[in-house]
């Protein structure tokens, strides 16, 4: 039997010490009428060798970036993951430890998370980062909850219509049953008009949620929108692309109150959508209203610098129903990956990745739109590394033709629902270009699409 230690002989010795005469007897407190009277109906047990073959078989039924060039976007990106990230994340000392409840036995995790927080602060220009939340989508809800607590306005939040539609759905799931109005300001021509936002805000609005670059890859007037939010006494919540901060102005620079992001791009493989990494940072003044785990520096009884779980009084194991969030884990191992990734890249590397992605994306956009029938969906809007194109012969046609040539584009906009959903979206797909893509690949795609 796999992973068991006690030999039958030892089991007998142990039962004797306990004072019962069978394993079965240990379960005496489970009333017999509640017992399962048959074996579980599960597939037969496999040895490691068999399981590995089974996985080879499963993997062969998937088509991955190893087989096709990945230009898929929509919140998950094929950025390069240096080997050093795996080297650290696969150390048993990290992945088989748990929440650092015993600080003395967990300084490795604690300092790493503390440095993760520091790196996120340096990346974003924000004062304080927590040690991570689940992923980008739930960060929006957590930010909205926090904004409600901070502003004491519990009945209204405003979201830009250019927010990732799945993030918007998550917010709606979290808020709609709470008597809280979720107002969506429609996105027109690839971004949201600040005047429309101004019109949507009022003095009962807890926050304005901006995604910049937005779901379509284009830039929002994040600074101006933040000012608008503040004019109404609301918090500005900005969901950013962490890679973009290699060249774009940082949320902390333009006065964002809560900066959130999907951190998958920072060294985590795509793995079909998770586990990913929710980045959550804010102004210092709101720190005691933050959700999630916070690591703080302190000294030990000998005056030595060390790290602890800090401000736990906010958390659910102490505050229970009054906690700032119900989240009681962090994405520890993914946060470690991001810490290693950001350390490796440094200020120069993050700039290079951002610039390469941006330059190559623009080259790709130029080349793709040279194909007859393919046009930028939002030709007037600046974008960072992702853009939407429409295809006169339909989105499916474009995707299929690209696949046949060995490229995955997408997602197609028709997968999603939007507040403002013009006809043109039905023939449009997103294209995301990371630093991994090459001119040769882009040219090959374009040649295939022209053929």
């Amino acid at each position: 039997m796999s992973y068991l230690f006690n030999t039958p002989e030892q089991q007998q010795q142990m039962l004797q010490t306990i004072g019962v005469d069978s394993l079965e007897a240990l379960f005496a407190t489970i009333p017999s009428d509640l017992r399962l009277d048959r074996p579980l109906d599960l597939p037969p047990a496999l040895t490691e060798m068999e399981l590995q073959k089974h996985f080879s078989n499963l993997a062969s039924q998937n088509v991955g970036p190893g087989d096709r060039v990945c230009m898929l976007g929509g919140g998950a990106y094929d950025h390069f993951v240096p080997a050093a990230v795996d080297e650290i994340a696969r150390r048993g000392e990290f992945y088989t430890a748990y929440t650092p409840y015993q600080a003395e036995a967990s300084q490795g995790s604690l300092q790493t998370f503390f440095e993760f927080q520091s790196l996120i602060c340096q990346l974003t220009g924000m004062d304080v980062s927590n040690a991570s939340l689940y992923e980008g989508g739930t960060c929006v809800s957590e930010a909205a909850f926090m904004a409600m607590r901070v502003t004491n306005r519990h009945n209204r939040v405003v979201l830009l219509g250019s927010l990732h539609p799945e993030y918007r759905q998550v917010v709606e799931t979290y808020l709609k049953h709470l008597n809280c109005e979720v107002v969506i300001v429609p996105c027109k021509d690839g971004s949201v008009d600040p005047a429309d936002v101004d019109a949507a805000m009022d003095d009962q609005t807890a926050c304005l949620v901006i995604q910049h670059p937005n779901f379509f890859g284009t830039l929002e007037e994040a600074a101006e929108l933040t000012e608008i939010a503040h004019r109404y006494g609301a918090l500005s919540v900005v969901s950013y692309d962490p890679i973009s901060l290699g060249i774009l102005s940082r949320p902390g620079d333009y006065g964002t109150d809560i900066a959130i992001a999907e951190g998958q791009s920072l060294g985590t493989p795509l793995q079909f959508g998770g586990p990913y990494l929710g980045l959550f940072s804010c102004s210092e003044k709101f720190v005691r209203r933050m959700p999630g785990r916070l690591i703080g520096q302190t000294v030990d009884r000998n005056g030595k610098r060390c790290y602890v779980l800090n401000l736990q009084a906010r958390e659910q194991h102490i505050r229970r129903d009054k906690a700032t969030s119900n989240i009681c884990s962090n994405q520890g191992l993914i946060a470690i990956r991001a810490a290693v990734y950001l350390s490796l890249l440094g200020k120069q590397g993050i700039r290079e990745v951002a610039e390469l992605s941006c330059q190559k994306a623009h080259y790709a956009a130029d080349q793709l739109t040279s194909v007859e029938g393919i046009e930028l969906l939002f030709p007037e809007r600046p974008f960072f590394k992702e853009f939407a194109v429409s295809c006169s012969e339909g989105a499916d046609y474009l995707l299929r033709k690209a696949r046949q040539a060995g490229f995955d584009l997408g997602p197609e906009l028709s997968r999603f629902t939007f507040e403002n959903n013009p006809e043109s979206y039905q023939t449009a797909v997103l294209v995301a270009i990371t630093e991994q893509r090459t001119r040769e690949e882009i040219d090959r795609l374009v040649t295939a699409l022209k053929a």
Partner: protein, 485 residues
């Protein structure tokens, strides 16, 4: 040196990862991006080499205790061995590199795996409808509570209350609060179980859900669970089973069979996630038939008669509460859980629980004279002892024992939880520890209790740091390192 700050290693101009020059015609950034959107200065990220990074984080890692190096009997956390095959298989190309928006025909292997995972969780829970989406147990609770809410609203009922015993995990009330329910905490009985009288007194037509961990956080099976469920059902409420302690009952009894209507699994605990220094978790939920239509989307559907490449599909239930996260779930953790279930099979899972319960009871028996367990004769997979006796006798607290254990190469048990036991020491050995280890652990506890209390108040003595000052930390929070260098 290990504890030097990463930022202190930074030197202007040092480089870690490097990237090639652009192979496309490069335009001035200002032509691509409006000036006001561009950063005016670089980020404050440190500048270090790859070797700096490796040496720094490898050395830091060695300051951790972990399952791979130490016995880690952290109660309520199921710190069992994490099989190495899981890390290998979940990292295979074709598994680890799939994009969530790929064409479904190109994902049939992955979707098939996830579908099978749903089926296995349904069978283990006795609850037929599964959503893999929740990112962790706490999100599973929240998701299930919203599912219940939607169900009630669909029936035209607006129920406001969620009940839970005072021994519950903190996430139970926190999740209920966020789901917009009023929280009602119930007393525990003398035996450490749900107090049926107190429960009864709070049950009414406003009762939406009764949340209960079973076995509960004292490591005891709620023997009256069927009756409890009946009482809840009688007022039209639903029973939620917090699955944190599933490791005790796999194949022995099922939440769906003892009255639960909804539950979550902690894949990172019961099915060896692993724990990842705090996460990621994965908290899939299983619910009864009549709740299936309300589950968050997408779930994995299977149509055996479909054309090739379409057998497995992402589908959204008809009355879905919506999404609780982007994409489909913490797939990487679910894949590991799938590996585990496929390795163990039915007989293996049952043996897991047998040995988890055997180990807990054995350790409990070894310690019974020095660390009595207030509640229960037999425990399930864990037990909650109390250091009240030693505290009264010579001032040795649960914290002292926990800290001193570190010196002997044992991670501490959970202490001061659950709140209903004074000086609680909550020990969960798991099935992947040997009798020899349990013997050594028990001997060490006995030895510690004979040590000088003053010496113990200063413990640990062999670790890199000892007794961090949490009060100072909270008073003036220092939450990032750059400011101080």
């Amino acid at each position: 040196l290990a504890t030097q700050s990463l930022f202190a290693l930074s030197q202007p101009g040092r480089r870690g990862a490097q990237f090639p020059a652009a192979d496309v015609p490069v335009k001035p950034l200002e032509e691509l991006i409006p000036a006001q959107a561009l950063a005016t200065e670089p980020t404050g990220l440190p500048e270090v080499t790859e070797s700096d990074v490796i040496r720094h984080f490898v050395n830091l890692s060695t300051l951790n205790m972990c399952v791979d190096t130490h016995f880690y009997p952290l109660g309520s956390c199921t710190m069992k061995y994490n099989p190495k095959r899981h890390e290998r298989l979940s990292s295979l190309p074709g598994i680890v590199d799939l994009h969530p928006y790929q064409n479904q025909a190109d994902l049939q292997g992955m979707l098939g795996l996830l579908y099978e995972m749903q089926e296995m969780l349904a069978e283990i829970s006795g609850l037929p409808a599964v959503s893999l989406q929740p990112a962790a147990g706490a999100q599973g609770e929240f998701t299930a509570l919203l599912t219940a809410k939607a169900y009630f609203e669909d029936k035209g009922e607006k129920r406001t209350k969620v009940l839970f015993p005072n021994s519950a995990h903190g996430t139970n009330p926190a999740s209920a609060a966020i789901a917009g329910f009023d929280c009602v905490q119930l007393a525990s009985s003398k035996e450490g179980l749900v107090d049926l009288e107190d429960l009864k007194s709070h049950l009414d037509d406003q009762t939406a859900v009764f949340m209960v961990t079973n076995p509960n956080t004292l490591g005891l099976f709620e023997k009256d669970i069927k009756q409890i469920a009946q009482m809840v059902h009688d007022v039209g409420g639903l029973v939620y089973i917090d699955g944190a302690n599933m490791n005790a009952i796999l194949g022995y009894t099922r939440p769906g069979d003892f009255g639960g209507d909804m539950m979550h699994f902690n894949v990172h605990k019961t099915f060896t996630g692993p724990h990842g220094a705090g996460g990621p978790g994965s908290g899939p939920i299983a619910v009864r038939d009549f709740l299936a239509d309300f589950l968050p989307g997408p779930v994995i559907g299977h149509d055996a008669s479909a054309e090739e490449g379409e057998a497995y599909q992402l589908v959204t239930p008809s009355k879905s509460i919506g999404r609780v996260r982007s994409f489909c779930g913490n797939i990487g953790i679910l894949v590991r859980g799938y590996c585990y279930l496929r390795t163990l099979g039915a007989a293996g899972l049952k043996a897991v629980s047998e040995n988890a319960v055997l180990n807990a009871n054995y350790l409990k028996a070894l310690l019974k004279d020095v660390l009595p367990v207030p509640n229960g004769d037999l425990c399930m997979h864990e037990f909650v002892a109390s250091a009240s006796k030693s505290k009264a006798a010579n001032g040795i607290t649960a914290m002292d024992i926990a800290k001193r254990l570190l010196d002997f190469g044992f991670h501490a048990p959970t202490v001061y939880f659950p709140l209903v036991v004074p000086e609680a020491i909550m020990v969960e050995p798991t099935e992947t520890e040997s009798k020899e280890t349990l013997d050594a652990f028990a001997e060490t506890i006995v030895k510690i209790l004979q040590e000088d209390p003053e010496f113990l108040h200063q413990a640990p003595h062999s670790t890199d740091v000892s007794r961090p000052d949490e009060v100072v930390a909270a008073r003036n929070p220092i939450l990032q390192c750059c400011e101080s260098e």
